[in-house]
């Protein structure tokens, strides 16, 4: 009744690699710029 789970670890590793690639591309800085500013759309007046 049991099967070996290879998909979960592969997706986990793939996700970590993608996230690190994004950080190296400067996306964390881009996220910071968005998140540190007031988002008028988010509060419903933009």
């Amino acid at each position: 009744m049991f099967q070996k789970n290879r998909i979960g670890p592969a997706l986990l590793a793939g996700g970590v690699i993608l996230a690190l690639l994004g950080v190296f591309r400067g996306e964390a800085e881009a996220v910071f710029e968005k998140a540190a500013s007031l988002c008028l759309q988010c509060i419903g007046i933009g």
């Binding site: 009744m1 049991f2 099967q3 070996k4 789970n5 998909i7 979960g8 670890p9 997706l11 986990l12 793939g14 996700g15 970590v16 690699i17 993608l18 996230a19 690190l20 690639l21 994004g22 950080v23 591309r25 996306e27 964390a28 800085e29 881009a30 996220v31 910071f32 968005k34 998140a35 540190a36 500013s37 007031l38 988002c39 008028l40 759309q41 988010c42 509060i43 419903g44 007046i45 933009g46």
Partner: protein
């Protein structure tokens, strides 16, 4: 009880910029470059991190139409690790809905087809910022703008209540979003986590991983007596002993607490359960 504590601590840590609530100002330190794994508006005065849905949409909405590998990879890693575990244990808006649900002894079931709504919401959340653009070529974070009740609760109401220049800008859109929040919070009193189950794009995304995530619910068939205690306890109305890892499960793990034979466990390892329906052996 332990889960409630974890949810409360998670809610507090995610929104620990307490002076922000008093001053009506956002936290602007470097932690804001770090995504939290759940829906938590980054325009909330208390928010220390970035909402992944808002971040993904905002970056996609720019001129460059960026697909954020950082956000997508992060969410994929979190989902691959535990599926919707984040929903059940860490999400502040899920926590709020559960607290509201404790107010009423009258519990209503959610029609199953409504749970499918969150998948078109996910698709539109991801795709619209890339394709729905104005004459200048810019898009907007449409989910945040038109639906997100967490943003209305955590950012809209506190900021509009404190800053007169924002209150002066209130229009029909604001009241539309407040209405969505009011409907969902009222529904949460009678239905268990209605927002998470019908409209949350993040919950929809994580649900895609429930069957393949590293951490899984397991049923030890040799111990299970098919008593049905887990199904009676499941707040989402699922049958963990028949199918322990469906997309609808937010992994609150309450089923593991009531199993009299400890046949249900949540964990990782080299092996995970096969997804065959339970059949009682003769």
């Amino acid at each position: 009880m332990r889960r409630r504590l974890v949810q409360a601590v998670s809610t507090f840590i995610a929104n620990a910029n307490l002076p922000g609530f008093i001053e009506g100002r956002l936290y602007q330190g470097r932690l804001k470059s770090v995504c939290v794994p759940f829906l938590n508006c980054y325009s909330c005065p208390g928010a220390l991190g970035a909402c992944p849905v808002g971040s993904f949409q905002s970056l996609a909405a720019g001129f460059s139409r960026s697909v954020s590998l950082y956000v997508f990879g992060f969410l994929t890693a979190v989902g691959a690790a535990g599926g919707r575990f984040v929903c059940g244990w860490l999400c502040p808006f899920g926590f709020l809905q559960e607290l509201l649900h404790r107010l009423s002894p009258r519990r209503l079931a959610l029609p199953r087809f409504l749970e499918l709504l969150k998948y078109p919401v996910l698709v539109l959340t991801v795709l619209l910022p890339f394709f729905w653009r104005d004459a200048v070529g810019l898009a907007e974070p449409y989910y945040c703008k038109y639906i997100c009740p967490a943003g209305t609760l955590e950012a809209g109401l506190p900021l509009v209540g404190q800053r007169a220049e924002l209150a002066a800008l209130i229009g029909p859109l604001f009241w539309f979003k407040v209405s969505i929040l009011a409907v969902l919070t009222t529904a949460a009193v009678f239905v268990w986590r209605p927002f998470c189950r019908t409209l949350c794009p993040l919950g929809a995304f994580y649900s895609l991983f429930n069957r393949v995530s590293l951490w899984q619910l397991r049923v030890d068939r040799s111990r299970c007596t098919s008593c049905g205690a887990c199904a009676r306890r499941c707040p989402a109305g699922l049958d963990p002993y028949r199918d322990p890892n469906p997309a609808a499960c937010v992994r609150c793990l309450e089923c593991t607490q009531v199993c009299p034979t400890e046949a249900l466990t949540f964990g990782t390892g080299a092996k995970t359960p096969a997804f065959t329906p339970f059949t009682k052996e003769a």
